[in-house]
């Protein structure tokens, strides 16, 4: 097995060399990608027909938006604190359970229940930032990473203690019965899936507006690019970072509520998504919300299409392939597709 791994990496490297040469011309590379994708689609449609291609496309997009939703929350934390929050999935899971208790056990209307859970999660996230993160020097990532790992272990086990491990169905505001679909290009597109696409898209638009048009959002962007200069222009840095954590927790809970409908709700459900969301966020560039969405879609589509159409890869190596693609992209663009370059000074 080690040799196989090395093969994989070495192909990665040689591919990177090829791509590197092309990198100079931005348009050439996008055109190249476009051609490759078009050829692949043509091949796929010719071999297995329209219906299967579009079914897979919808599968891939749905998983892609699922990964994206969580990746957005990761990006918000990265922008605020410069770490990967390992507890992001656990916090989202907890929030989703809160929503579940409100909606299913207390009879609160679905959307209202999700909103209340988001608000509670935001409080929780702000509290974590204030109590556990702020005491540490923000440039020292390792202790903060260990804190998030501690939260990750603790929160998951805590949820297991309270709710045990049976899967539960999470209500969706969209119709989700067996016949709730319409056909588009010969393939079934289900309303609950379309709902996920729309909700994640909406989330992206609202977040972008929030960060670009509101005072708090502008302060957040300023702090995430430079703490020092933000402090100089009079921004309350602590409060702003707290805002980032609160926002990430709320977004995570919304993501959890959307995801739980297809993956089912149990204390570990977000952890199965988290790896792919890490990959998605990294691919897009850890500090770009738009990148997180694009990254999620690419990871999921590669997984679905490569696993579906390329026999050598199959279901067994689909996820591995998706991860390999990330390595290739990162070698070419070390800060992801849309990440900003950090300039270092001696």
């Amino acid at each position: 097995m080690p040799t196989n791994l090395s093969d994989e990496i070495s192909t990665t490297i040689s591919a990177s060399a090829v791509l590197k040469g092309l990198r100079k011309s931005k348009y050439t590379i996008w055109a190249l990608f476009g051609v490759v994708i078009a050829l692949f689609s043509l091949y796929a449609i010719v071999t297995d027909g329209f219906e299967l291609f579009f079914t897979r496309l919808y599968d891939g997009l749905t998983n892609g938006f699922i990964y994206s939703a969580m990746a957005i929350a990761l990006v918000l934390i990265y922008k605020a604190t410069g770490v990967i929050n390992f507890a992001q999935g656990s916090m989202a899971m907890l929030g989703t359970f809160v929503a579940y208790v409100l909606i299913v056990e207390q009879g609160v209307p679905t959307l209202l229940g999700i909103l209340i859970a988001m608000a509670l999660s935001a409080l929780f996230g702000a509290g974590i930032e204030r109590v556990l993160i702020r005491p540490f020097d923000p440039t020292n990532h390792l202790p903060i990473t260990i804190i998030t790992l501690g939260l990750f272990l603790g929160i998951n086990a805590f949820a297991g203690l309270i709710w045990l491990y049976d899967p539960r169905a999470f209500p969706t505001p969209f119709p989700s019965g067996a016949d709730d679909y319409f056909e588009l290009f010969g393939a079934r597109l289900r309303y609950d899936r379309l709902g996920i696409w729309i909700m994640v898209g909406l989330m992206f638009v609202l977040l972008t507006l929030l960060l670009r048009k509101t005072k708090a959002g502008l302060a957040f962007r300023s702090v995430s690019s430079s703490i020092e200069s933000s402090r100089l222009v009079g921004i309350n840095v602590g409060r702003t970072l707290q805002f980032g954590w609160a926002l990430a927790a709320a977004v995570g809970t919304l993501a959890g509520c959307l995801i739980a409908n297809t993956t089912l709700l149990e204390p570990n459900f977000m952890n199965r998504v988290l790896i792919f969301s890490f990959a998605a966020a990294t691919l897009g560039g850890l500090d770009s919300i738009g990148g997180a969405v694009v990254g999620g879609l690419i990871v999921a589509l590669v997984e679905t299409m490569a696993g579906g159409y390329i026999d050598v890869i199959g279901s067994e190596l689909a996820a591995t392939t998706a991860l390999a693609v990330i390595v290739v992209v990162l070698v070419v663009r070390p800060n992801g597709l849309y990440g900003s370059k950090r300039i270092e000074r001696v």
Binding site: N63, V104, T172, G177, A178, T263, S315
Partner: protein, 503 residues
């Protein structure tokens, strides 16, 4: 994230659903069972019958180190360590047992099994115990890490206070310790995994399993499919990418040899997969007639949902580990789906199945669990009761053998379990119940026999049942759709599996 990887190990989800693997409407007497009536072993009696049965097996009259059981099974204590104490862990007041299973970590859900076992042992202890001795069960936490299981077992062996290990969960976990357990002559009973290795009587006489193994279960699927598709059909498989899933795949591969059945598509999924949508889409494209769901846990529910939502409508056969109505079918109702039409091999009765509300053991379980403050709807507790019931029976049987209750006789008793199924009153299952009581929870008509080398597997039968729903807003129930299939004794022991090239 740490969880995701560990979950992958969860091949064994197995036990969770075992009880659920059953249910089903009628207890019709018409079901044909090819029961092998093995020799009337030491005890056909239910636990702790006052009248001691003809104690034919047990300690040899001349060679005090030799213990004999049915099916040429023998235990020779002279092969054990020099300081071996057959009575270790057994006193007039206490019988000490240990177990090892995940109580924390991602698979902590299995820890409930130990709580279920404790619940039945408490019940036994409150009602006289084993000849007055109380069963003391210590379940250690191993987080499903084979290394920790090994540490737990080594500590238990060295503590020199346990009579036996029981319900150690997981295939790699048991494989990691079975050499040690056998070297130390420590009984390793009722392994919580369905690997065929636990029938390796020759090399590992002190190890014994309990669950129907996945290889056999897959053979039962094909047996049933033959009646539904006499001229053969195309099969698609959704397989968990671990030993658990692959055991099913091997069983299918072996069973379709020389039949009209072909495997048209096979898709693996990782434990880390958020869902199995991609796999189902690819399998649907094969247009197969049959879908075999060789996975467990939340993935079963996901797969059923995908099939119900999609255009592809194959005959669905699913792992018995996903048979629990409350765990795996109920979430579908909340999604506006049902899961109807799914077929499952049943071996045990589901405590949540309305058809069994009057069953003696189901009643007893529910009453006792409620009294002890456990949720009777949690079928993992019921699974724990099955394990504990067998353990109690082994102890009660061993006490009646020549030489009385000791560790060698515990092993002899475990290798000579005899139980038929049938409905019985709750009083049957008092530890000192009547002599003609049947094995609890076991599907009517099935047997749970062991006989040394001749039969090293407890249950090898089941009946195909289809999940049917009348009210889409409520849980349905399983309706029997096939004959009772019983391969009891056919597999004999692990040598047969090796000979079939599927070891």
């Amino acid at each position: 994230m740490r969880r995701t990887t560990v979950i992958k190990a969860s091949g064994l989800i197995v036990t969770l659903g075992i009880i659920g693997a059953a249910c089903g409407g009628s207890s019709d007497s018409g079901s044909k069972a090819t029961t092998t009536t093995a020799k009337p072993a030491g005890t056909t009696a239910a636990p702790g019958t006052t009248a001691a049965p003809a104690a034919k097996y047990g300690q040899d009259a001349t060679n005090k180190n030799l213990y004999k059981g049915p099916g040429n099974f023998e235990i020779d204590l002279s092969k054990c360590p020099s300081d071996y104490n057959p009575a270790q862990g057994i006193t007039a007041t206490e019988i000490n047992l240990f177990g090892s299973l995940p109580k924390s970590g991602p698979l902590a859900g299995f820890g409930l099994l130990a709580d279920g076992m404790q619940s039945y042992f408490n019940y036994v202890n409150d009602n006289g115990g084993v000849g007055g001795a109380k069963i003391k069960f210590e379940a250690k936490d191993d987080k499903y890490d084979p290394k920790l299981t090994k540490t737990n077992a080594t500590e238990a062996i060295q503590a020199k206070k346990y009579a036996a290990g029981v319900t150690i969960l997981g295939t790699p976990n048991n494989l990691g310790i079975w050499d040690d357990m056998n070297k130390e002559c420590m009984p390793e009973l009722l392994n919580g995994t369905g690997a065929a290795q636990w029938g390796d009587v020759k090399a590992h006489p002190w190890t014994s399993g309990m669950q129907i193994d996945y290889f056999t279960e897959a053979s039962l699927w094909i047996e049933w499919l033959k009646t539904k598709f006499p001229s053969g059909a195309k099969i698609a498989e959704l397989t968990y990418n671990n030993d658990f899933g692959k055991s099913y795949a091997k069983g299918v591969k072996n069973a379709v040899k020389g039949t009209g059945f072909t495997v048209a598509g096979s898709q693996l999924h990782e434990a880390t997969a958020p869902n199995v949508t991609n796999q189902i889409t690819t399998l649907a494209a094969t247009g197969a007639d049959v879908l075999l769901i060789e996975t467990t846990g939340v993935f079963c529910t996901q797969a059923m949902a995908e099939i119900e939502k999609g255009a592809w409508k194959p005959t669905v056969v699913m792992s018995a580990t996903c048979g629990s109505l409350g765990q795996f079918f109920k979430p579908l109702i909340d999604q506006g789906l049902t899961g109807k039409g799914t077929n499952i091999i049943q071996t045990f009765k589901d405590v949540n199945d309305p058809a069994y509300v009057d069953d003696g053991f189901v009643k007893l379980f529910k009453e006792t669990a409620t009294k002890q403050g456990l949720d009777p709807k949690q079928s993992t507790y019921a699974t724990g009761w099955i394990f504990a019931w067998y353990m109690n029976k082994i102890l009660q049987d061993a006490a009646a053998l020549n030489g009385g209750l000791n560790r060698a006789n515990i092993m002899i008793a475990a290798r000579s379990l005899q139980a038929k199924a049938g409905n019985s009153g709750a009083d049957c299952y008092l530890p000192k119940g009547g002599a003609d009581c049947a094995m609890p929870f076991l599907l009517n008509g099935l047997t749970g026999n062991m006989s040394g080398f001749d039969d090293a597997y407890l249950t090898e039968g089941g009946q195909m049942a289809e999940y049917t729903v009348t009210d889409p807003k409520a849980l349905g129930s399983f309706k029997k759709v096939g004959e009772l299939l019983n391969l009891e004794g056919k597999l004999k022991n692990y040598d047969t599996v090796i000979a079939a090239g599927n070891g």
